[in-house]
Amino acid sequence: MAVTQTVPSAPHEPAVNLEASGRVARRQRLSRASRYVLLGTALLGVSALVVLGIDTVMNGWGRVTPEFFTNYPSRFADQAGLRSSIIGSVWVLSLTMALVVPIGLGTAIWIEEFAPQNAVLGIIKINLANLAGVPSIIYGVLGLAIFVRFLSFGPSILAGALTLFLMILPMTIIAAQEAIRQVPDSIRQGSLALGASQWQTVWGHVLPGAMPGMITGVILAMARAAGETAALVMIGAFAFIAYDNTSIMDNFTVIPVQIYNWTTRPQEGFRADAAAGIIVLMVIVLTFNIGAAVLRERFRRH
């Protein structure tokens, strides 16, 4: 190929000008400007959260005392505590998790690894995505109709856990499906070609590979269940509980419902209780989320 030589006569004068000009300069200005606009919107959102957080901490920090954790709710704001709602939360969430882990993960494994890939399955998959977006209050209505009334469980821990289980089941399944799909097909093929059965392949390779994603999904779903109020209020978990739960048929309350309860009181003191409750709940949910992130990182490194 012939190369036309364009050697500049003066060695100090470069042949090309690489400074932005014309259209390029305009595009670059726009690009720089957009960065600041986006930073601004991000700051707006974050600062609103920070202000809310500070306000809550200022209002409630004084009430976060040891007694706040050991006292039952009370008519007197300065004696009210989270004891029964913490115990209720532990009961409900444990039961919810005991249901969602086997059923949610099992369903995801079945859909991804065993189900015949046909139209029916396609419809199920689409519906799962839709169900994950349904507002929680709808699950409350469902729980009220089925578990509380039809199955006569009453506003019990069992009914509450079943309702929360239904609520977080779709998102758990979807997260687990996502994790299972991350396991490359070549691994499955390699395993099957060695004479492993499908179940041995799933157990030996797919599950270990998908585990971090599945655990993360479960934890995030549980964080959502831990903060859920509307669905539980709907099924009637709004009672004044001044005892420790001992059975899944007990009436119960949970931390977010207790907080909601306090915010409905006219007395000033209960506002501080609500703020203190929010601090506790935020710490719990944050712990869940950090736990999920740490686990994910830990697994990723291996």
């Binding site: 070609a193 004479g195 041995q200």
Partner: protein, 294 residues
């Protein structure tokens, strides 16, 4: 590749499709068809009139092949002619593909692999497979090797089996100091030998290899080829390759496949490797192995 080749024999063009010739007449024809060949050794696998469909699309049509025991048979042919498909039929890996269908039979020790009562898991235990891209499990070298044996109920001395398999795959010396290392931390060539070791640990009878060297450099390729020659003392090996030199260097028998008009792969020529390369009977075989093919 042999450079000195006798000129292609003058053969009258024969119809290659499935033309119904009265049995008597066919037997009278002196010259056998290029794709009709029966190796003298006993067959490890015999493919009879095999058709394979992906949905309604026929990918293989009327395949007839005998793979002789403890020999290396190469499957060659242009991309898309169905080599991998045929290979996957041989250990029923195609069962995993939704909507696929097999017609015809593959005989193994007097049994048809596609008979109703045959379990694909049993088949794959006896007929192992090494893939084009090395696919070690994200586990230790040790666990990679032992997995297949374990799932098949191996109860013996695991350490011994791991060492023997890795030695057979010519990998032992390179990894013996750190069997706990992840299989993914090996080089591509080492990974492929790990995959071979993993397949050997199950003690299969037949090993299928789908372009096992295509992701490897020439040195690693040579190592695997040497290894294949050694393994052929005990195992029947069927290998798909795009590399003519490799087929010529390593295989005893070669089958040349080509997709026909309808896009279904057919066997064009089959025979001892030297004959196929030195003296192809079919013009299309010659064109392909000399690189005159599209």
């Amino acid at each position: 590749m042999p450079d000195v080749r006798t000129p292609a024999p003058q053969v009258t063009p024969r119809p290659t499709g499935r033309v119904s010739v009265p049995a008597g007449i066919e037997r009278v024809m002196e010259d056998r068809k290029a794709n009709e060949y029966t190796p003298p050794e006993p067959a490890a696998l015999t493919v009879r009139d095999l058709d394979f469909y992906y949905g309604s699309r026929r990918a293989l049509a009327g395949i007839d092949l005998q793979f002789p025991e403890k020999m290396i048979t190469a499957l060659i042919g242009p991309s898309g002619c169905g080599k991998s498909t045929l290979l996957r039929c041989l250990n029923r890996m195609n069962d995993l593909i939704e909507g696929s269908r097999v017609d015809g039979e593959i005989e193994y020790h007097g049994l048809n692999l596609y008979d109703r009562g045959v379990d694909p898991v049993e088949v794959r235990r006896r007929i192992g497979m090494v893939f084009q891209k090395p696919n070690p499990f994200p586990k230790s070298i040790y666990d990679n090797v032992i997995f297949g044996a374990r799932v098949n109920g191996f109860r013996g001395n695991a350490d011994e089996l791991v060492e023997r398999s890795l030695r057979q795959a010519a990998l032992w010396d390179e990894v013996k100091d750190d069997l706990k290392k992840s299989g993914l931390a090996l080089s591509g060539g080492q990974q492929q030998r790990l995959c071979i070791a993993r397949a050997l640990a199950v003690e299969p009878e037949i090993i299928l290899m789908d372009e096992p060297c295509s992701a490897l450099d020439p040195i690693a390729t040579l190592k695997i080829e040497e290894l294949m020659r050694e393994l052929a003392e005990h195992y029947t090996i069927i290998i798909v390759t795009h590399n003519m030199q490799q087929a010529a260097r390593v295989s005893d028998y070669t089958a040349f496949l080509l997709a026909g008009e309808a896009g279904s792969g057919e066997v064009i020529e089959y025979g001892p490797t030297e004959e196929i390369f030195a003296n192809p009977r079919d013009k299309r075989t010659e064109d392909y192995i000399t690189g005159r093919f599209g």
